[in-house]
Symmetry: C2
Subunit: 241 residues, 2 copies
DNA sequence: TCAAAAGTGTTCCGAATACACCCATGC
DNA sequence: GCATGGGTGTATTCGGAACACTTTTGA
């Protein structure tokens, strides 16, 4: 076998081909939020290897596709959803992680706002379901490792960047926001203080609309003001909860 | 071309081989700290492509090597340094990022404590040098993009985790630590407040040693207490500067 | 009238800030 | 003595935590 330093050689008669033996895949950890619980989208495999096991959604990357394209395709093919928040978080490449060969996988996580989307089975999967992250089944490949790292990354990110909003519908109440963050971070906030803090950040746009048909005082609806956030961010503001 | 979903097929007569056409490489952003400046280790290429350009250190991954092994090898081969702090931060895989084929690169950054290490040239590089991150030359491939992302990740990490210590010698004074953080974060601290804060964290072990041969009052030396930090971390403590 | 959530105000405490001051050493 | 960095103390300010209270709606 040639030494890896062929990477740097100018002599094209020494081919790089010996090293073009990798498979490349994308795996997506898709988070959703429903009834106060953080869920993740899993499919049950209907094929070998790992037939019957649950797995993250993912696919091989076509050789002429960029990583982001491939990741978007994975999500769109399974859910039909476009323009979803997505972020690469880690690459897993253990020699033995895939039984069919050396497949390196680039992992993304994405946040899907709510359950207006109902997952559907596909040709290679018995079923697709939202599963509570505190009640996970056994997973195929190294997907458990990937999922854990994804959860860790999400919890980390959500604390320092206003990404949590992606899990809510566009218009939401302050209590809904608070409950989401409580589920994400695993502890309770004081109602008054939470409201004060988040509103003083100036990244929420209050609407003149209210929750309807509730048997109590209707709550005001808010939108996340992305443009305002970008401006504040440039001025040195940093989100923190 | 076969559809990517062959990933999921159990029928091995439909080969995955069409998709095993990727090259995989590692690139390392090696940070150092000297005389109040953050520097990065770059090599000047002596071969095509990008002959004469500066580049990050890196190499192709051998098909039977794990990513971390490969990353450690890259660093060890060039610098002779072992057991260096290293962290994967992003994977770059644009279709056209490498002129010789589809090469996906997994980027790591590492922190090298100080300049007792003098970089040396190697077979495929004219020279290797520590270069101030505010005065970068033009770089080969997409290495400028990689480097920028690495700097961003470092600045982010250093604020929330006590990784900055890796850039200092084992024994350091509080002023040295303060100057390091000022260089990393780009702003000044108040001496008194900085000392109070860092010492109250209880992650520094004060030594009974002092800086010698200085023309002013000798400063006490400290060590980073890694074991203590791990303990505190488990108890919920989080580093913040 | 009651339940349930919306929404506000106030006090208290601790941490961050700003700044002033003294200490030890080499020259 | 004085320049240089080492090292400490304190008053003030600001933001978070805790908690009590009022408001609005449907049933």
């Amino acid at each position: 076998m040639k030494t890896p330093s062929s990477y740097f050689l100018s002599d094209h008669t020494i081919p790089l081909n010996d090293y073009f033996v990798f498979g490349l895949s994308i795996d997506c950890v898709v988070f959703g939020y429903h009834e106060g619980e953080i869920k993740v989208l899993l499919v049950q495999r209907d094929v070998e290897p790992f037939n019957g096991h649950w797995a993250l959604i993912g696919d091989l990357v076509e050789p002429d596709k960029n990583l982001e394209e491939a990741a978007n395709n994975v999500l769109e093919n399974l859910t039909g959803l476009k323009n979803i928040y997505m972020k690469q978080f880690f690459t897993f490449g253990s020699v033995d992680r895939h039984p069919l060969g050396r497949v390196v996988t680039v992992a993304y996580f994405s946040l899907v706002n709510s359950m207006n989307y109902q997952p559907i089975a596909s040709s290679w999967a018995k079923s697709a379901e939202w599963i509570n992250i505190n009640n996970l089944p056994e997973l195929a490949f190294d997907h458990y490792t990937i999922l854990c790292k994804g959860i860790e990354t999400l919890k980390n990110e959500v604390r320092h960047k206003p990404t949590g909003f992606e899990l809510l519908p566009k218009k939401f109440t302050l209590l809904e926001l608070q409950l989401l963050y409580e589920a994400l971070l695993g502890y309770k906030f004081d109602k008054s203080n939470f409201r004060k803090k988040i509103q003083e950040m100036n990244i929420l746009r209050p609407l003149n609309e209210f929750k309807l048909n509730v048997s109590h005082r209707p709550a005001k609806l808010f939108e996340f003001d992305e443009k305002r956030y970008r401006t504040l961010e440039k001025e040195g503001f940093s989100f923190e909860l």
